[in-house]
């Protein structure tokens, strides 16, 4: 089971903070997962169409779209960080 977290402006745009789903057979990496999520939730398009608005973490480390996925991974989508 993949756990997907959404934070800040991304959380508000996709209207959820978390979801869980079985790793689909045709999803090998983050890029594939985003395509899959867009099919499941068409309203994700607005936020996912612009790569500059989204950072991706797998198991709490920032990665790019080519990152391979394993069942059980914790994934997060969020905007560029603004701490301090």
């Amino acid at each position: 089971m993949l756990t997907i977290h959404y934070f800040a402006s991304v959380r508000e745009a996709v209207k959820r903070s978390k979801e869980e789903l079985e790793l689909p057979e045709n999803v090998a990496n983050i890029g594939d997962l985003i395509e899959h999520l867009l099919l499941l939730h068409p309203h994700f398009e607005a936020i996912f169409q612009d790569d500059r608005k989204i950072l991706i973490a797998v198991n709490q480390t920032v990665v790019d779209k080519s990152q391979a996925l394993d069942p059980g991974d914790e994934i997060a989508f969020f905007p560029p960080m603004t701490g301090g």
Partner: protein, 157 residues
């Protein structure tokens, strides 16, 4: 050494803890970040609303790991005797303390440089997000180009 908390902190208490932990330190540098009323998100203050509330969201777990990694990187670059990082989350008002970085070292340059390094990385490499509210309006604060530039200066060193 690292705290992510909603509560405020006492500069005096944190400084005394650093003094105790650092043993024979010759220098302690402390930085405190404060919530501003006038928020210049783009570096342009004209026409910007005054902040009533600043809401800090974070990614529990990854936040602490990211801060620990930043502190470890600083400890590899400089001879530090003690480091303390506090970042507040939740709702904050203007003039409240939001972030604290304290560094202790034998001589001042290591403590100064490490404190700047930790702050520069904390701003754009630790998963915190600010939402600014003014009256009925609220918006997520955009990442600043100047913060990315502040980070870039450490790439060569």
């Amino acid at each position: 050494m690292i705290s992510v908390q909603s509560e405020d902190f006492s500069l005096e208490q944190e400084y005394q803890k650093l003094r105790t932990e650092a043993g024979d330190a010759g220098a302690i540098v402390t930085f405190t970040g404060i919530v501003r009323k006038l928020y210049d998100g783009s570096g342009d203050t004209s026409g910007t609303a005054e902040t009533d509330t600043l809401y800090l969201e974070h990614y529990p777990g990854m936040t602490e790991t990211s801060l620990a990694n930043i502190v470890s990187a600083a400890e590899k670059k400089w001879a530090l005797l003690a480091v303390r990082v506090i970042h507040r989350v939740g709702e904050l008002k203007p003039k409240e303390q939001i972030v604290f970085v304290g560094t202790a070292s034998g001589h001042r340059q290591d403590a100064f440089d490490a404190a700047q390094f930790i702050m520069d990385f904390l701003k754009s490499r630790a998963p915190f997000w600010k939402k600014q509210s003014a009256g009925k309006d609220s918006h997520w604060v955009d990442a600043r180009v100047s913060d990315a530039e502040a980070l870039a200066r450490w790439q060569d060193s």
